[in-house]
């Protein structure tokens, strides 16, 4: 498969770009923040995105989706990233649908995938814990067999869109110690199951995340997602795929911050000339451009690998490559953007600060650059 977008994908990108610039704006994002909106996103826009088919891009037609590929999803995510759109794509489409697609039973697929594609069901993946530091296999939450079902006890954090999710996917340890790769089990539970407490977190990017407490939560045996004790490998695959999707969104946000900055360099006049004529700024702008182009290649390469059905180790390496690069590049561009905007870049009134805040959160989501480099080294055997 060539590393080039098809005409259909270019068209999809244009449609998404027009949608984002027409329906959404940074003023809307600011409004959601300033009014402390209970959802933190627009359910109306979510419905429109469902109608456009975007929520079911990688869901097969037989499961109510569109049955396209990850490169198609990539171009949509990139455009949503340009507008810093907070709609729950990462949680519901990448993590939620991803987990059901990879590990769900026929019944679970039928229950969730058409509803996700239709925009009527939100999912969240509760896997991170206070001490997990990005590693999906560090699980202290316990799952114990009780009667015909299970009892879950523990606490999850950084649960993306947890406060609005209709269902939660929870990782819990059914055997072994906190850091064992095996003995992890995934459960699909309704948010209103007794014993679940969801508390919204307020983070710098105003996007949505929550802490989830599980106090003796009783679930039936059919809540199992995949086989008992074998959720660790499934979880790693789900998180790798979601990581790759997130990098597409980060790429879009990076490009948007960069373009705003280039425009500022072309128009802001000091000493009687546009500041973009100063070589000290030109070279830094050109370096950012190079980093962004390399990031785009990594993001495309990772999405292509998913479409080609490469093995898990290759996907893991490419997820690491794309995430490390997008983390570093988004942070670099966001910090330089504030610097090059000067004083106005430090004000809440100007939009550029939103990108800096989002860059920091996205950098840490699913693991920062150092985490992914370490992981790539281990996958490479050194």
């Amino acid at each position: 498969m060539d590393l080039v977008l098809s005409e259909e994908q270019e068209l999809l990108a244009r449609t998404a770009r027009e949608f984002v610039s027409g329906k959404s704006s940074l003023r809307r994002i600011r409004g959601l923040r300033d009014t402390r909106d209970a959802d933190g996103f627009s359910r109306e826009l979510w419905g429109e995105m469902a109608a456009l088919g975007w929520l079911g891009i990688v869901i097969p037609e037989t499961d109510g989706g569109v049955g396209l590929g990850y490169l198609d999803l990539m171009v949509v995510l990139e455009e949503l990233g340009r507008g810093l759109m907070p709609e729950p794509m990462v949680s519901t489409v990448l993590l939620g649908a991803g987990a059901v697609l990879l590990g769900g039973s026929e019944a679970q697929r039928g229950e969730h995938l058409p509803a996700i594609a239709g925009g009527t069901r939100l999912l969240a993946l509760a896997y991170e814990e206070a001490r997990s530091r990005y590693r999906p296999t560090h699980v202290e939450t316990r799952a114990e067999k009780a009667g015909g079902g299970w009892v879950l006890r523990g606490e999850k954090t950084e649960v993306l869109d947890g406060h609005v999710a209709d269902w939660l996917i929870v990782s819990a340890r059914s055997a072994g110690g906190a850091d064992d790769a095996t003995g992890i089990t995934l459960f699909l539970v309704r948010r209103d199951t007794p014993g679940i407490t969801i508390e919204r977190q307020s983070r710098i990017d105003s996007r949505n995340a929550a802490r989830v407490r599980l106090d003796d939560v009783r679930v039936d045996a059919d809540a199992l997602l995949g086989a008992a004790g074998e959720g660790g490998a499934l979880l790693a695959r789900v998180v790798d795929r979601a990581t790759i999707g997130l990098t597409a969104e980060m790429l879009g946000s990076t490009v948007a911050a960069f373009m705003m900055t280039i425009e500022y360099l072309q128009t802001r006049v000091q000493f009687g000339v546009p500041i973009g004529s100063f070589q000290a700024l030109k070279h830094r702008a050109a370096e950012m451009y190079v980093e962004i182009e390399l990031a785009r290649s990594a993001v495309m390469g990772a999405h292509r690998a998913l479409d080609e059905g490469r093995d898990d180790a290759a996907i893991g390496r490419l997820a690491g490559l794309a995430k490390a690069r997008c983390s570093d590049t988004f942070m670099l561009v966001a910090k330089e953007a504030v610097q090059m905007h000067g004083g106005i870049g430090m004000t809440d009134e100007h939009d550029i600060g939103f990108f800096l805040k989002r860059a920091r959160v996205a950098e840490v989501t699913f693991g920062d650059a150092a985490y992914h480099r370490d992981r790539v080294a281990r996958l490479g055997g050194y």
Binding site: L294, S297, A298, R373, V376, Y382
Partner: protein, 395 residues
């Protein structure tokens, strides 16, 4: 595609039958490869490999057959390259003839020049060098002063060129000279082909900090060059030079993309650094630096692939060649720097005893690599180009 499959089958069979066994090992230095020309003696296997490949035109696979090339389509050439890669075959011929002046002549040369020079390039009979930089014209190349004055059917050339790669081993030079001193500086330059055996040409190698002498100074004193050897128009040489710089920048990025380089880095770390109980490299900072270099290389490789695939899909190549030159050389320099750091005190040797061949190569490659961001347009010039042509930042 059945046709391509048939070609792949045929290519594999022919290559297997005709390639000498010694050509199936990776070269340890670029000097082991065949650059062609009359001045360098090559081992018998190298000469034989060149002869059979040139016979089929496969040293220049996509050039038209009428000029000695292979006449292959781009797809066929890709298949050929893939099959050579699978057999780990060395290229039969490399050099500026194939990658720079040949493609330019195909694009811009007169029929006479094409017939005279292209077949000889394909057969590796002539090695070419590039006469661009001068003592007073480095990054500001357009200010060059080598003077060519018309005298009948000839130009008489006087001046000095510097940083001429392998001028001492080359047979012909493509050279930029000033033919109009009144015009704006870019508009008085002419692109000439010059026989290095012409009276008045003298060459002196320059010793570098690495101890090698890949570059020369070339002195031109009343050298007569026929007017028919002009490529493009008289006073139209700057456009030719710019077209060529694109070729050179892509080539430099490709040249630094050596096979097995990542493995070499990890093996070096295994040799000189402690090992963790789990088998990982024990120096956390150097391990992270190694991973950064290998991952950056992977991203650059994907970008090169993206550019090639884009060209195949009909997208016009843009100033992105500046990305490759800039990033490819900076990355190579980081890699060389890292290798010396990993070797520690064993990376300090100038010559034996106490230092093995591998260690001396690491050290000298590091010293040599410091020039990567200077030659072929400095990194700063590349950044200027990106800022101006891609980002549209004002002068």
């Amino acid at each position: 595609m059945p046709d391509l499959d048939a070609f792949r089958e045929e290519a594999r069979r022919w290559l297997t039958a005709n390639a000498p066994a010694s050509m199936r090992t990776p070269p340890t230095t670029p000097d082991e490869l065949c650059w062609g020309g009359k001045k360098t003696p090559y081992p018998p296997d190298v000469k034989r490999w060149l002869a059979v490949m040139a016979e089929r035109g496969w040293t220049a696979p996509v050039w038209p057959k009428e000029y000695g090339g292979g006449g292959l389509s781009k797809q066929e050439a890709k298949v050929l390259a893939e099959e050579m890669g699978k057999l780990r075959l060395r290229p039969a011929l490399i050099g500026f003839g194939l990658t720079m002046i040949g493609p330019l002549l195909l694009q811009e040369g007169s029929e006479e020049l094409k017939r005279e020079h292209l077949p000889r390039i394909v057969r590796g009979e002539v090695r070419w060098c590039q006469g661009y930089s001068e003592p007073g014209a480095g990054s500001d190349l357009a200010s060059l002063q080598a003077k060519a004055v018309r005298d009948g059917d000839s130009f008489v050339v006087n001046g000095q060129k510097v940083w001429t790669s392998y001028a001492d081993k080359s047979d012909w030079m493509f050279v930029l000279v000033r033919t109009d001193f009144e015009a704006r500086k870019q508009e008085g330059i002419t692109f000439l082909l010059m026989d290095m055996t012409s009276p008045g040409v003298s060459v002196r190698p320059i010793l570098l900090i690495s101890g090698s002498s890949p570059f020369c100074e070339t002195f031109l004193s009343d050298v007569r060059v026929p007017v028919k050897n002009v490529v493009g128009k008289i006073n139209g040489g700057w456009a030719m030079a710019k077209a060529l710089l694109g070729h050179e920048r892509t080539m430099i990025a490709d040249a630094y993309k050596e096979r097995d380089e990542d493995e070499r880095l990890v093996n070096l770390a295994r040799r000189y650094l402690p090992t963790q109980p789990g088998g990982g490299i024990g120096d956390a900072l150097l391990r992270d630096a190694i991973t950064q270099v290998t991952m950056d290389q992977a991203a650059l490789d994907l970008t090169l692939a993206r550019s090639r695939d884009g060209a195949k899909a009909g997208h016009k190549p843009g100033p992105e060649t500046s990305i490759f030159k800039y990033y490819g050389t900076e990355l190579n320099m980081r890699r060389r720097e890292l290798m010396v750091k990993i070797a520690g005190p064993q990376g300090l040797g100038w010559e034996g005893p106490g230092f093995d061949e591998n260690e001396l190569t690491v050290t000298r490659d590091w010293l040599r690599s410091r020039g990567n961001s200077i030659e072929g347009g400095t990194s700063e010039i590349q950044l200027n180009i990106i800022a101006k042509r891609v980002l549209g930042l004002p002068d």
